[in-house]
């Protein structure tokens, strides 16, 4: 034991001592969703031999709690790759360092993902900078398209196209379904369902998250669109109680015609289900046009991080933005966040990534400091409304669900201010 400890100490000193000259070591957390690209990016950065990042991967569902506990005890990480939707609430709680000057000093500032920056900005200051990206898209099963006599290369461009294709595929047999959505999952649906509304001209929040706009004709249309498919058995019965566990797996099973999904699915399908021939397209609006949810992580710096460590953290961020860094990200499951090198970073990769990258470019992110409460909570107003409306027996029930959600969301927003 003692010898081991001694050796460990020597090793630590060996690492730390050359650092004394100039370089700094900073701690960095990432949620488990980033466990593919982040270690590779950190290794490449550390291999440069100057500053060092010490990475810790945290289970995705515990990140906020862990951070909060660590911050209360003063052991928070210096930097954190944070699910971008949490940036406003972290900034509101005074946990983050203002990075406006650094961000604006970058020559390629204008090419950074606008969606990330929009949620990374609080009170006019930039607290979170784009780091990794995931865009929502629509995927369809080309094998089933062929079987149903549809053109496998023609992507659906509006809701009617989706419905028609789903009907044709649903008619193939008892175990084949036209469409799939996780009917009891708030997180999945904010990612894949809201783009249908955005593309049709609606919105979920207005005034920087101060106003909930649930009760809109676009929302109603979109809810009815899903409800119709569920009612006509184009969707498997399990959807009604799927709180996200089947979000990816259902389509991967090969008996689903179309499903809204995310760019993460491209890599996962290619690696794990090589026989599944599928197409990727944008999530369309009712009569055309399209939209996407820009998801992923913002990189943030804890408010209490030592100023001495800032150069190292800034060097890491710059490295991630370099074309080398963006390529490492793109090869390991994240979309590039810097548009001017995106094409270079995606070179040689599956061409379906390009569609996802374009979706990201136009992607949007809802802005609210109470995202967890409103959207992610398994018992929140958003998922409650969706579940009730998707599987409602009548149009009145859909209206009722929307009214309830409108009222509850607004009251949660109001009481948080």
């Amino acid at each position: 034991m003692t010898i081991k400890a001694l050796l460990g100490g020597v090793a630590m000193a060996a690492i730390a001592l050359p650092g004394l000259a100039q370089a700094e070591t900073f701690s960095l957390w990432v949620r488990s969703d980033g466990s593919e690209f982040m270690p590779k990016l950190v290794d490449a950065f550390n291999a440069k031999g100057e500053d060092k990042a010490e990475l810790q991967i945290v289970p995705v569902n515990e990140l906020v709690q862990k951070y909060a506990i660590a911050a209360a005890g003063g052991s928070q990480p210096d930097a954190l790759s944070l699910d971008l939707i949490f940036t406003p609430s972290f900034a509101q709680a005074g946990q983050l360092k203002d990075m406006t000057d650094f961000a604006k000093s970058l020559p390629y500032y204008d090419s950074l993902s606008q969606a990330h920056l929009s949620v990374g900005t609080y009170d006019g200051k930039i607290y979170g900078m784009p780091f990794s990206a995931d865009a929502s898209v629509l995927v369809w099963n080309k094998n089933l398209y062929k079987k149903a006599g549809l053109d496998p290369d023609k992507a659906p461009a509006n809701w009617n196209d989706i419905r028609k294709a789903a009907e044709a595929i649903g008619a193939l047999g008892d175990d084949t379904y036209g469409f799939y959505f996780s009917g009891n999952c708030g997180g999945c649906n904010i990612f894949t369902f809201t783009p249908l509304i955005w593309a049709s001209g609606g919105n979920l929040f207005e005034d920087k998250g101060a106003k909930a706009t649930v009760k809109t004709p676009q929302m109603k249309d979109a809810l009815e669109f899903y409800r119709g498919m569920a009612k006509d058995d184009l969707v498997p019965a399990g959807s009604q109680t799927d709180s996200g566990s089947n979000f990816f797996a259902a389509f991967a099973g090969g008996n689903i015609g179309l499903t809204p999904s995310g760019s993460f699915a491209i890599g996962a399908l290619n690696n794990q289900y090589p026989d599944l021939d599928y197409g990727v397209t944008y999530l369309p609006g009712k009569d055309g046009d399209w939209s996407s949810f820009a998801g992923g992580d913002n990189i943030v710096v804890s408010a209490k991080t030592d100023e001495d460590k800032m150069p190292a953290i800034e060097a890491f961020i710059k490295f991630a933005y370099s074309s080398e860094g963006q390529t490492i990200l793109a090869k390991n499951g994240s979309l590039p966040v810097r548009a001017d090198v995106a094409e270079e970073a995606l070179k040689g990769l599956d061409s379906r990534y390009l569609i996802a990258a374009k979706a990201m470019d136009k992607g949007r992110t809802p802005y609210t400091p109470v995202f967890n409460d409103l959207i992610n909570s398994l018992n929140g107003p958003w998922v409650n409304m969706l579940n009730k409306a998707f599987f409602a027996d009548s149009a009145e029930e859909v209206d009722e669900a929307m009214d309830e959600a409108q009222e509850e969301m607004q009251s949660i927003i109001d009481s948080s201010r």
Binding site: Q65, Q240, N379
Partner: protein, 309 residues
């Protein structure tokens, strides 16, 4: 204190009173470790929770003193009261179900014999699975597409097409009840069985000779004699059920449409989903008071000195 430790028996004739005081100090010394544990792990956290409940205490950021605001707010919080009401409903149903089944099982397995001890083991087996793993097993069994119940019901012609049992309140609720009974009945069976086995056989024989029917023997001999183990089982069952969380969180996520959110689930949501720790603490204090009251009521009714008929 050290004096107490040093108390040596051969000290020549210590006065009676002195010896008593000595042994009292000794007693304190012996319970000190557990007293320390109780203080650190129960009293201090309890005090902290009470302190937190008087603050607006976000998970991140600075707590702010708000006095009794949290308590005022919970008075009008419909979702808390409805979750509490649901918890009470659940507790009533599950207590009747569990203790009924456990009593039946205990009567079956109270005797001697190889086969009986095998059954005893079989009935007890589900108890040793964790609540979470049992619930996960149930999630899979009740899955409409890949599970057991729905496809089975369809195949033997019980239902037309697949029915998603977790999608509506009634079947979802009863499937959880069924799961909990399967999982926990063995535990209460053991408690009740120990009571049954301590009843001297002559009592039953005497009653038999006097011509008492089975129901009479059960009502007038068995039940009064297992009053104490029954009281223990009842208190454990009620306080455990009032704190139900895992099964509803894992199997139903509080659904369909928030109809199965229990009181603890609501506290969990407030504290760790909405990050309102202060409000969560206030809800916990209310639940604690309710549980205390319930336990006191049960103890008075079931103790030997309790109200006699």
């Amino acid at each position: 204190m050290t004096d107490g430790l040093m108390a040596v028996p051969e000290t020549p004739m210590p006065t009676r009173r002195r010896r008593r005081r000595h042994s009292q100090w000794n007693g304190l010394l012996f319970v000190l470790p557990s007293l320390l544990l109780v203080t650190i792990f129960f009293i201090v956290p309890l005090g902290m929770a009470a302190w937190m409940s008087l603050h607006k205490w976000p998970l991140m950021g600075v707590p702010r003193w708000v006095g009794f605001d949290n308590y005022e707010r919970l008075l009008t919080d419909k979702s808390f009261w409805s979750s509490l009401w649901f918890t009470i409903e659940y507790t009533v149903v599950i207590t009747i179900g569990l203790l009924g089944v456990a009593m039946a099982l205990a009567l079956i397995v109270q005797g001697q014999g190889k086969a009986i001890s095998a059954y005893r083991t079989i009935y007890f087996l589900p108890v040793v699975t964790g609540f979470a793993s049992a619930a996960l097993l149930w999630v899979w069994l009740s899955n409409v597409d890949t599970g057991l119940f729905s496809p089975l019901a369809q195949d033997i012609g019980l239902t037309e097409g697949r029915v998603n049992i977790l999608a509506n309140f009634t079947p979802a609720f009863w499937s959880v009840i069924f799961m909990v009974i399967w999982k926990m009945a063995g535990f209460y069976m053991v408690i009740l069985m120990s009571g049954l086995q301590s009843i001297p056989t002559d009592y039953i024989e005497a009653a038999r000779i006097d011509g008492a029917k089975w129901s009479q023997r059960f009502r007038f001999i068995i039940m009064p004699l297992i009053r104490k183990p029954f009281a223990l089982a009842l208190i454990l069952c009620i306080s455990g059920s009032m704190l139900a969380f895992d099964q509803f969180y894992i199997i139903l996520s509080g659904g369909p449409r928030n109809q199965t959110v229990t009181a603890v689930y609501k506290i969990f949501n407030e504290s760790f989903i909405s990050f309102r720790l202060g409000y969560g603490a206030a809800l916990s204090m209310v639940l604690l008071v309710i549980l205390l009251a319930l336990s006191v009521i049960q103890l008075t009714f079931l103790s030997d000195k309790g109200p006699k008929k």
